[in-house]
């Protein structure tokens, strides 16, 4: 595949402006990172529906609950570390009340490479997918980001959107992103299924090409909707392919791999499963690509895991 690369994060503010122009219920909340998350574009266009909280993430999350309680649709846009971990009980309360609180979590996984392990959100999927009522979506390109935001607006209740800061392939797939549905990006055969989450798309594409070149015929699956998950598709894969490898810009504990394992483990028979992601360690500073390569998110690792499940 030929493609250029783009950061999903760059379009967040722009897309929120597009929807915010027609839907006056949309508010955007920021905690002093509007430039980094690009929500500043919304601030400049709709200052009266933009709420700056200062560096006060827990309060920001509860303010979102208050705004939602008044019939509005607040998008709290901030780093994944802060909207998942820092404000977890506040998010959980919003979900308990099934409020229309929408999160856009930027800088997920190791996307904030140079800032180091303190800022690497390798646990956010695990933290948010266990909260009842909360939907979890991970776009892999700009089109899917736009669709994820649209789904968030149209879905009653809280939604968490994990949006890559690092670059992803700038492609437009034909298939539309839907709540509860995964996207079959390519299907060549039943040797393997490589299931990835959107912020690991760059490695997923390269690894899939490398596997094709080696003669393996498999499927490339973009999970998109981590919650609710496309359980039928996963069950179907479990009985049709020889091996499944999950790929995530996240810890291998409790994230995408864990979610898939929870489904497979309930079957009497299923394809062999292997995980690619960050092992149970803290990472370190470095260029995002370098950190990812060192901590498991690299093409060689994916290829060898696929070969392992096929052996």
């Amino acid at each position: 595949m030929d493609y250029d690369m783009i950061s999903i994060r760059e379009k967040i503010g722009e897309i929120l402006c597009e929807y915010g122009a027609n839907d006056k219920r949309i508010y955007v909340i920021d905690s002093d990172l509007a430039k980094s998350t690009t929500s500043a574009k919304f601030r400049d266009k709709f200052p009266d529906r933009f709420v700056e909280t200062g560096i006060a993430e827990t309060s920001a999350m509860s303010i979102a609950s208050g705004i939602a309680s008044e019939g509005q649709i607040p998008f709290y846009v901030n780093f994944a570390m802060f909207v998942s971990g820092t404000a977890w009980t506040q998010l959980r309360q919003a979900a308990y009340a099934n409020l229309n609180v929408k999160l856009i979590a930027t800088h997920p996984g190791m996307d904030d490479g140079p800032d180091g392990a303190s800022h690497h959100a390798n646990e956010d999927i695990a933290l948010v997918r266990t909260i009842p009522n909360l939907k979890v979506l991970i776009p892999s390109n700009i089109k899917e980001l736009r669709q994820a935001i649209k789904i968030a607006i149209e879905t009653d209740g809280p939604v968490y959107i994990r949006a890559a800061r690092d670059v992803v392939p700038n492609v437009d797939l034909e298939q539309n992103a839907e709540l509860g549905k995964s996207i079959i990006v390519d299907d060549q055969g039943n040797d393997f299924a490589l299931i990835y989450e959107g912020t690991a798309t760059a490695v997923a594409y390269k690894a899939y090409d490398a596997l094709k070149e080696k003669g393996y015929k498999g499927k490339l699956i973009n999970i998109f909707s981590v919650k609710p998950m496309d359980v039928d598709l996963i069950n179907n894969l479990a009985s049709t392919v020889k091996g499944i490898v999950t790929l995530e810009n996240h810890s291998i504990l409790g994230g995408l791999g864990g979610a898939i394992a929870e489904i497979l483990a309930q079957r009497p028979n299923h394809a062999k499963l292997a995980y690619v992601g960050v092992p149970d360690v803290f990472t370190e500073s470095g260029k995002s690509a370098d950190v990812k390569a060192k901590y498991g998110l690299n093409v060689d690792n994916v290829v060898s895991k696929v070969e392992e499940v096929l052996s």
Binding site: S62, I67, T89, Q90, Y96, A97
Partner: protein, 271 residues
């Protein structure tokens, strides 16, 4: 406002609180009884459930939810019978406020420190929509020790939320004893002043003072309001007053009877 009428309503609500907790064999009587005069007054004076755009009440000290259920029962929203299901399985009356179950409960709270931020969010929207009503955040003194409270005080003051009325139920006791021995809040009025709040310091169990404070709050146009209400934990039940033991707990049969006798006597005194 007819003060005597409000006092009688508050007295009935106190009885409901004691009955609810007695029946549930669990709950937080002390903080429910200290705040009930304030809650009764707010709902009578400023909450019109028939209006879509109405004033909202965030009970940030969510463990005092028996007080909220009692007021909602006095308004006919919860039946007296349903009050008997408090804290039981299959009841709408959860141990802490849950807005999904009862739409007249304006905010889901219970994790201390979060309610004031929720109120700030509501007040921001109401101000933006030019609504002519208020958002009340009812805080416990113990939860003033939560960091999030101070984040939201900064934000309320930054946005000059003149439609936000913060009420501190200052009964001076938290779970393990005198709140100011756990972590000192004083000088608390000065702290609100330093955050640019209009402050009103009252006896929160004196209905006339509560009504006067709310009426004063409605006249403030340039900043948020904080009513620091000195109250008595367990107010109205002789053996509970100022006794930290009654932060949370069940009543024995004879304790229940004494409590109801105390409240009946108080009713006669009001009349």
């Amino acid at each position: 406002m007819d003060i005597k009428h409000l006092e009688l309503l508050a007295n009935e609500n106190r009885k409901r609180i004691v009955q609810m907790i007695y029946k549930a064999k669990a709950g937080h009587p002390g903080g429910s009884l200290s705040v009930i005069d304030i809650l009764t007054a707010i709902y009578e004076m400023d909450v019109d459930f028939s209006s879509e755009k109405r004033s909202k009440v965030v009970l940030s000290k969510g463990h005092a939810v028996p007080a909220q259920y009692a007021v909602l029962a006095s308004k006919g929203i919860i039946s007296e019978e349903e009050l008997g299901t408090f804290r039981q399985v299959n009841s709408r009356l959860q141990g802490h406020p849950h807005a999904l179950d009862i739409k007249e409960v304006d905010a889901t709270t219970g994790l201390l420190g979060q309610g004031l931020s929720i109120a700030v969010g509501m007040a921001l929207v109401k101000k933006h929509e030019h609504e002519n009503n208020h958002v009340y955040a009812i805080l416990g003194d113990g939860e003033m020790q939560e960091g999030q409270i101070w984040e939201s005080l900064l934000q309320a003051s930054h946005y000059k939320l003149n439609n936000l009325i913060v009420i501190l139920d200052y009964n001076k006791l938290s779970s393990s004893g005198p709140v100011n021995e756990v972590i000192n809040l004083e000088p608390i009025v000065d702290k609100f002043k330093a955050f640019s709040f209009h402050t009103i310091h009252i006896d929160g169990n004196d209905m006339q003072q509560v009504v006067n404070a709310l009426n004063e709050a409605y006249t403030i146009i340039d900043r948020p309001i904080a009513i620091i209400a000195d109250t008595i934990k367990g107010k109205g039940v002789s053996f509970m007053e100022n006794n930290p033991k009654w932060h949370s707990g069940a009543l024995l049969d004879e304790e229940y009877e004494t409590a109801m006798r105390d409240l009946e006597r108080a009713k006669e005194e009001i009349q």
